[in-house]
Homo-oligomer: 129 residues x 2
């Protein structure tokens, strides 16, 4: 219950401050594909990995992670199997060849976006376009 309260407190702050900026949600799909390209994983673990990528806990929408996984599967970019052998049952996902192609497209765009952000910062700091 402590965490949820903290989360709510943080959200209030952001509402008071009028600008919301990019949320992490948009980054969930490519991140999941990236992680799965390194090996099979499952929802809960992927959330942990997102934190490693530098997203703080409060900015990750857990529900969005699971929804994204199901959507990716529906579209053939990943596939899943229930794993019931361990202590807990978990739905383990694997990336498909189709998914790898999608990831490559993401990487291309992310590189472009990185350049755009760089030129934004340069321009802010007095550079020219």
């Amino acid at each position: 219950m402590k965490l949820k309260e903290l989360k709510n407190r943080l959200n209030e702050k952001e509402k008071g401050c009028d600008f919301s900026l990019h949320r992490v949600s948009r980054f969930i799909q490519p991140s999941i594909l990236l992680f799965l390209s390194k090996g099979p994983s499952y929802g809960y673990e992927l959330i942990e990995k997102l934190k490693d990528l530098g997203f703080h806990e409060e900015s990750i929408d857990i529900g969005a992670v699971y929804r994204t996984l199901r959507k990716l599967e529906k579209e053939g970019f990943v596939k899943s199997l229930w794993k019931t052998s361990g202590a807990r049952r978990k739905r383990v996902y694997q990336i498909t060849p189709h998914g790898k192609t999608l990831l490559r497209a993401w990487v291309k765009r992310i590189k472009e976006r990185k350049l755009a952000l760089e030129s934004f910062i340069d321009f802010y700091q007095g550079g020219k376009l």
Copy 2:
């Protein structure tokens, strides 16, 4: 009419291709603030400047630019005046101190985001988190 057809054609393609990725729209607000921090400007000119920032014509939603301007004004980040002296009337915008503060916040977040994109790319290319 030619441009509109081209635009529609491109949109069809993106629909067929299932992933939509980040749209430019989210970048409109900070870009406008950035441009206005360099001096007064108006909608149509800001759209031209967006193209200079590296966005291709088809990905800019003209309507969104004007809507963003009105919203920014409503919230006190910019202010506008009709300029009727030239050949055409135009609504010229200026950034406010409040707007400059918002821009600084954007820059901070954009720097963070840039780092996130870099670590994404590194990791894709075999790096560690």
